[in-house]
């Protein structure tokens, strides 16, 4: 069950709206701030998709959704919540402005998570004059309402207790929190993605393959592997009876061969953008983005469900978590509404507050 009583979402783009959807579908009230006049429509589109996916995941009926309110200012959005997720565009000046505002108006014990895909929390929390110690990066993956991973990164001023509470909050809404051990830009997931993305741009630019061919090469081979085991475990198995050391010994030297073009960054000019956009149209314009979203979501739910039945029914990887999460949602749906719910919320909020206050005390002490 969630330990958050009310949350705020600052920014309602693809990522922000994904957070809103995950929170609401867990029965948590959310106040959102987004200056885009289209925000309400965009969020409701994402909610539609998320609701559709969750109905497949929990066919017995979903929990009562949290209430969504649109705030006119950041102050209004955050003043009475115990968790805030910031998902504004990736510009440090903007992050500073928004985080300063959040910090000024949020309750002192509210945890602040940032969805940034790459900016270091240390560089962001300098803008928080009151309680920088409660900022963590909570970097999700799109679609946020379905993909479980959230990378948690603390900055120099972040208290370990804030990281602990953030872990609990994210886990309570069905996610898999992984705490990154050292703060670096782009963290871990996006480092790997950027590496593959750069190489992919070269392959397209040089005419080795089209975007459709490259996508097929991924999804008919290692994509299937990585849905269930990461690269190290995959390679351990590939080493055969001799295992990991054998694999490393065999493939290590390849690193010295002049294969990849990683050393350079392809020039990101109009020509390359055109080439990719045109090839992407050839590949996908038979579907609208909304149709593709549905296809993607259906596939993701089906994959997680398939994995949930593995390992003698215990589930494997994302499938094991999927088992727990869908059970939790079903249990929440079966709950009597009103009284018991608000009582539990009051209890939970207290717990979060107690925890969140701990770092503050420590700082003073």
């Amino acid at each position: 069950m969630s330990i958050v009583s009310k949350a705020a979402a600052i920014g309602g783009g693809v990522i922000g709206a994904g957070w809103v959807a995950r929170l609401l579908l867990n029965g948590i009230d959310v106040s959102i701030y987004d200056p885009d006049p289209e925000a309400s429509r965009k969020v409701s589109e994402v909610m539609k998709g998320a609701r559709r996916a969750y109905k497949q995941m929990v066919p017995g009926g979903l929990p009562k959704e949290g209430k969504l309110t649109f705030a006119k200012t950041i102050a209004e959005a955050v003043h009475d919540v115990d968790f805030i997720q910031e998902s504004v565009p990736e510009r440090l000046d903007l992050k500073h402005r928004v985080l300063a505002e959040i910090d000024l108006h949020a309750p002192a014990n509210a945890i602040v998570g940032s969805s940034t895909s790459g900016i270091k929390p240390t560089d962001m929390q300098v803008a928080m004059k009151k309680h920088p110690e409660r900022l963590v990066v909570g970097h999700p993956f799109n679609p946020v309402y379905l993909l479980p991973l959230v990378e948690i990164v603390g900055g120099e001023q972040t208290f370990p207790e804030a990281i602990e509470v953030a872990k609990e909050i994210y886990a309570s809404i069905g996610m898999k929190p992984v705490v990154i051990r050292k703060e670096i830009e782009a963290f871990v997931g996006d480092r790997l993605l950027e590496a593959a993305w750069r190489e992919a741009l070269w392959l397209i630019k040089d005419g080795i393959c089209t975007v459709e061919e490259l996508d097929d090469i991924m999804r008919y081979s290692f994509g299937l592997r990585w849905a269930q085991m990461g690269m190290f475990q995959v390679y351990r198995v590939a080493g055969g009876e001799a295992g990991m050391r054998h694999f490393m010994a065999q493939f290590g030297p390849c690193l010295k061969w002049p294969w990849t073009k990683l050393m350079d960054v392809p020039e990101f000019n109009d020509e390359l953008v055109d080439l990719i956009a045109t090839q992407s149209d050839d590949q996908s314009d038979k579907w609208s983005i909304r149709e593709l979203e549905k296809i993607r979501d259906d596939n993701l739910v089906a994959i997680m469900e398939a994995l949930s039945k593995q390992n003698k029914g215990k589930g494997w990887g994302a499938g094991e978590l999927h088992n727990d999460y869908t059970k939790q949602l079903a249990k929440l749906a079966a709950k009597k509404p009103k009284a018991s719910k608000s009582a539990e919320k009051a209890k939970a909020t207290k717990a979060v507050k107690a925890k969140a206050e701990k770092p503050k005390k420590k700082k003073k002490g």
Copy 2:
């Protein structure tokens, strides 16, 4: 139905044995050459795993397996086959020796596929004095009996017709052939894998995360995405209503940020090998390699089956192919053995021969 009457496998390691398993389970006779005294045991281990996976895929019963014979020489293995798959270790001198031998003794119209993960076919076919035009790279992904992708690459001397026949042969045993447009080292799949692998080595070496954490970061996020859509289609959807151009415009500039360490190759010393092997033990030594193989195979079959039910039952990506392949295997299993089978084989062989002879004629003409 397969258009190959009899095949040869040269090399019976993890990849070679995977080919043997796929071929035999498609009812194709295979002669294998591998000087390793343990080869027979190793191949039969892989066969056990493959048989187990295929029984899940085709619960109504498998086709009659092809006959496996161990040859004492390459000449003996290849003299009467119409398709040869070479899977010896990645050393050019060894590839030259083996391909020269294959070329010398194989029927003139037999297609030769190489499993190399990176060596250019142009650099390999120079060793084939008789018929270099029939060499293609047919680069598979482990486990070969389950993962459908095969990258086909022709060299300077390869005839287009040989590529066409190779495509048909691989497709006939349930694979997804993708022809690479220009010959480069490591082709496409391994370029992407190497990029991610290098970055992963840095992340481990620098203590940002452990191999288990990195694996979790992959398999709870983009690994799930890439099992069903490749990165370009994923990003198209992520662009939201604005699509691919929006995504490119938004994320393009990040390429200039000094995030990844791709520019350098981490030194591949004993310390790094130890660190990774130790962390890999921590992650996985509760399972033997054989157990992990079973888990992996079960997961892969389950994912492909889940995808086969998507898209209104037509299947999506590897799932669509999985539908066709399992239907084909079931049909083959339902066939009366003997007479009808050998008649069809004779017919099919004739067709392959006609096609394979075409390039030869062209060369002479």
